[in-house]
Symmetry: C2
Subunit: 278 residues, 2 copies
DNA sequence: GCTTGTGTGATTAACTGGGTTACAAGGATA
DNA sequence: TATCCTTGTAACCCAGTTAATCACACAAGC
């Protein structure tokens, strides 16, 4: 069929619109309208699988949200607002929500950050964006020495390199290891004062349990000021990223990684796979 | 009670989070967690009105979204991600949705904008943000002459003045009328090359039908290049803004407004209140 | 009159999400 | 060891929402 690849986009658009708060019918109607200059309820129904009698409700809501225009008459004509306008209308809505939400949460009784060294606390969090944000945060809070190991190129975002660069600017000694040649080059260019080296990471993946050994791949390892650690892995089936995170000089996880580094295990290229221990 | 004003914020935060796609339980749990450094399921339940047995589900989802961290153990400890991180995680999600949505819609079969003068077509749309966006759009597309009448100060946003300023920069003669002194001053400063005058707008409200005469108040009137018109009104009960919009030199609505302006009805300050004044 | 197409409203079915209960596992205490 | 309490998982029910269908009023054209 002619619109075969367009079909892909249609479904994607419908789904995204639903995630943005529209109902199924509303989303379908809007997408249908976005494909033609204008249409009647009947036409919308035919090209959108939405029952005709329900097109009116859906479109009315869309109109109230500022996503379609109506020409009253018989029959009524409907028209989708241009993409840029639609997006920017939606974006405005959400931006204002973000702003007031931030204020509202900040005005709550404060967490008062239990700051002490948090001896053996290890926290876990998931989701690449969340982990990326936390990484960012940690880099920004490093004052002295930063060690970073990245297992996959896609995790080295522009923002991250920006923060790394800022870190070196304020005198932090930044050391980055990765397997990927292009990433190393990119970092050398964006963060010239960082020390970059090659790392294979295999030793991490095949260390403890041979069964699910190559099931998960390492995402990132970050050690800041010898006292804050973040290690993330990526589940290859779901490609979901999960991370553990600990802080405090005497934190168990921190101690282990510091030890590993001190013995040169991490930085050396082929670290003799120090066998069944862990 | 001590947290009386904090209560306000709590509810607001919960509502906003729900609007951002979280379920009630999830929102409440997150807010509860945001008020303390960390908490167990039991504690969350007590301070959030969420049944304890359901805290786990909610928190698990929050964790998957990167909004809370978990410390595994017995009992499990939960902790909300810092505000900045949370907001920025959410914002990232939505931004990426907006982007892909835009692409998806743009890749659909195009509207092909029925461009001709569209003789008597009049379209209506609603919602202040949508109308503001459309206004913006129209100002940007004006090449020659722009006439703008605003009935309420809040409608003159910073963005709008920016576009007006750009318009004058590219040689468009901009004429703005409003009743509000401060708005006139603001515009004179931000858009020095615009012509600003006083307008009462009463004549519009009380013109045709004496019954619902003072029911609605005029929002804005915009005439671009003598061929594009937008008129909006604000329902005082719902304070919802609705607009009609027409284009084409010979469009009925356009012709009327042009005529009105030619006879000086709009620009004169005290226009002899044609009809049953009030 | 009849027919066709448009718009409104009511009605039913399916689903989602809130609220509750049951219960297994693991410590702590006696 | 037996018992009690807490924690965590899972299943369930109920209600409100939303998808889907149906009935009908109205207007225009034949």
């Amino acid at each position: 069929m002619s619109s075969s690849d367009s079909n892909e986009n249609r479904n994607q658009a419908v789904e995204l619109l639903q995630q943005l708060g529209l109902k199924e019918y509303e989303a379908k109607c809007f997408v249908a309208l976005s494909r033609v200059p204008e249409a009647t309820a009947k036409e919308i129904s035919e090209s959108s699988e939405v029952p005709r009698t329900r097109v009116y409700d859906a479109v009315r809501i869309l109109e109230a949200q500022g996503l379609v225009e109506v020409q009253h008459g018989n029959p009524q004509l409907f028209r989708a607002v241009p993409v840029e306008e639609a997006i920017s209308t939606l974006r405005d809505q959400y931006e204002s929500r973000f702003d007031t939400l931030k204020d509202a949460i900040e005005d709550l009784d404060r967490p008062a950050e239990s700051d002490s060294d948090s001896v053996h606390e290890v926290w876990s969090l998931s989701g690449t964006t969340a982990i990326a944000n936390r990484t960012q945060q940690l880099v920004e809070n490093t004052s002295d020495e930063l060690f970073l190991l990245v297992g996959h190129e896609s995790l080295v975002t522009d923002d991250l390199m920006g923060s790394l660069s800022e870190a070196t600017d304020r005198g932090v000694s930044v050391i980055v290891g990765t397997e990927d040649q292009s990433v190393r080059d990119a970092i050398r260019e964006r963060v010239p004062r960082a020390e970059v080296f090659v790392s294979k990471l295999d030793w991490l993946n095949t260390s403890s349990d041979p069964d699910d050994a190559d099931e998960v791949r390492i995402g990132r390892v970050l050690l800041g000021d010898n006292s804050t650690i973040l290690v993330s892995s990526i589940d290859p089936t779901t490609s979901k990223e999960r991370a553990v995170y600990g802080r405090g000089f005497s934190n168990g996880l921190v101690v282990i990684v510091r030890r590993l580094m001190a013995t040169g295990l991490i930085r050396s290229d082929d670290p003799a796979k120090r066998g069944g221990d862990e």
